[in-house]
């Protein structure tokens, strides 16, 4: 219990004396998180090292924590970049799909949320209730009828088939709505007096104010779309159209003949999000935690 004794002592309590027990606890806490960091990074580092080694070793021995640079070289990555494979086609597909999804989702969800939060109108509360209700139903339950519907609409194997059912994401609407509902309605009246149309107000006055919300949602949406597997896997049938996760998954055959590409490609696929993460970390944390604070 000695850990918990001081566990809640966070925030600034500057006038507390430093005692030897504090030093011990400080070391203990820092060690706990060092251990956690090692456990978290371990698999990624092991994978990174083995991405420089021949894939047949992975096939035979699995991924090992032993750092060994025997037979290591850039061969896998050279093969990835210059070899006769579809990796960069998949990469490009993922990129385009993510870009389309993010742009459409952000704008559509923003306008829907704007309508829900800035006006009192008949059916407004019902619509907001429906937004919440759709959040309560896991996508997996609707994937089967949606799949049939998309086939019926002749959108199978197309980007539209992947994007359309997802762009009106209820959690994104919900987030924007929570953000917008806190803004003063006087802003709208100010715009009206100056002769702005209702649409103009939403674009010229409120949208600039909602920039932080856009930033948070953009990152969250980028991550979600870049890493989305299940639905694109159902819609795309043609290896030429695969996105990165589906393509990588298709390399995971029992014969193990693609393991050179598999692990190098997996590592390289994390890179874009890693860069986004490094640049926009603070928005990201704001975005994912926004839902948790509203009880």
């Amino acid at each position: 219990m000695v850990t918990l004794e001081n566990a809640a002592n966070f925030q600034s309590e500057k006038n507390i004396r430093r005692t030897p027990s504090h030093t011990v606890l400080s070391v203990v806490f820092t060690l706990i998180f060092t251990l956690q960091a090692v456990l978290t990074l371990g698999p990624l580092i092991a994978a990174l090292f083995s991405s420089f080694r021949p894939g047949r070793l992975l096939m035979r021995y699995g991924l090992s924590f032993t750092v060994s640079l025997k037979d290591a070289g850039l061969k896998n990555y050279i093969e990835l970049f210059t070899g006769n494979n579809q990796y960069f086609r998949w990469f490009w597909n993922s990129f385009i799909l993510t870009a389309i999804t993010v742009v459409l989702t952000l704008f559509i969800c923003y306008f829907v949320a704007y309508g829900l939060s800035m006006y009192q109108f008949r059916g407004g509360n019902l619509l907001f209730f429906l937004v919440l209700a759709t959040m309560m139903v896991p996508f997996e339950i609707l994937m089967l009828p949606l799949y049939r519907e998309i086939i019926g609409m002749k959108l199978i194997n197309t980007r539209a088939g992947v994007v359309l059912p997802t762009i009106c994401g209820s959690s994104t609407i919900f987030f924007f709505r929570q953000y917008l509902i806190g803004l003063p309605k006087d802003l709208l009246d100010a715009g009206r007096i100056d002769g702005c149309t209702e649409f103009g107000i939403s674009v010229r006055i409120i949208m600039p104010i909602a920039k932080p919300a856009f930033a948070s949602m953009a990152i969250l949406c980028t991550m979600g779309s870049w890493n989305n597997v299940l639905w694109p896997m159902l819609v795309f049938r043609d290896a030429k159209k695969f996105t990165l996760p589906i393509g990588l998954n298709s390399l995971l055959t029992p014969y193990g003949n693609n393991y050179d590409l598999l692990i190098a490609g997996s590592m390289f696929s994390i890179l874009p999000l890693f860069i986004v993460f490094l640049c926009f970390q603070r928005y990201l944390i704001g975005g994912i935690t926004a839902g948790a604070l509203k009880g």
Binding site: T40, L116, T134, I285, I288
Partner: protein, 317 residues
Amino acid sequence: MRPVSFVLFHSFRKESVAPMKTKFFYSQKVAPYLFVLPFVLSFLIFWIYPFASTVYMSFHNITTTSSRFVGIQNYQKLLTDKVFQKAMFNSFRYMIWTLVILIPLPMLFAVLINNRLTKAKGFFKSVMYLPALTSVVVAGIIFRLLFSENPVSGMNQFISLFGAGPYKWLKYDATGLVALLILASWRWMGVNMLYFMAGLNAIDTSLYESASIDGANGWQKFRYISLPLLKPTTIYVLTISIYAGLAMFMESYMLWAGNNSPKNIGLTIVGYLYRRGIEQGKFGYASAVGLILLIIALIVNFIQLIISGTFKKEVKQ
């Protein structure tokens, strides 16, 4: 013709067209409906229709060419379907274990990392979030290889530190579950921690200060301030964990490199829906599986919300 219409347009614009247009674009009555229109369309086309059709299909026997009404036969069959029972058991067991692991531990870690005694917080927070950047495919590939049967694979190396193993992880029920839970913990520990950290930061610091003045120790502050005020966060994390746990599919799909695992040890409810619906084309039967999952998820969450007293709070407000 062109100049004439041009002139006409301009002559009309000032008197009749413009005011109508103006009225439309300036109307506060029309605007909200235009704004929410995309949601209404998307809701009807990509939610209500599929939902209705899955309910419809669950009472029918559907093949690629025909559809025959069978009443509740699909549901009756499900009751005695041994494989479905196995899938239910697996999903529930996984969901409960993720609740047991991925709520108390992240909460504890969040409290500890907020403590002023912990060093290098920024670094640890960033590291913890890294796994969430990897897709389930990449994480699955890495962990599938770590859980390889070979004695030198990562996980066998790890447990040999404790004198155990080597195991054929993905061949047996218990070790397969451990593999799934380790994968889930690796991916979600940091994210859940982040939720709790945000919850802790939202607590007014003056509460802790006044508690200190009253002579409360660290444990008491945690027990009587942090824990009760973290309740909304906890309920949120609990709710999404229940849904994610019951609807888990891709994790198992990746670990076993497909929807088939020895003796169905990795089969989940959604995995069974996928097998029956997508792989075998039995849409009616698969729809019944999906609806049962939905009902179960709603019931579990409802019970959880009643126990945690969320509804009571709303009444009070």
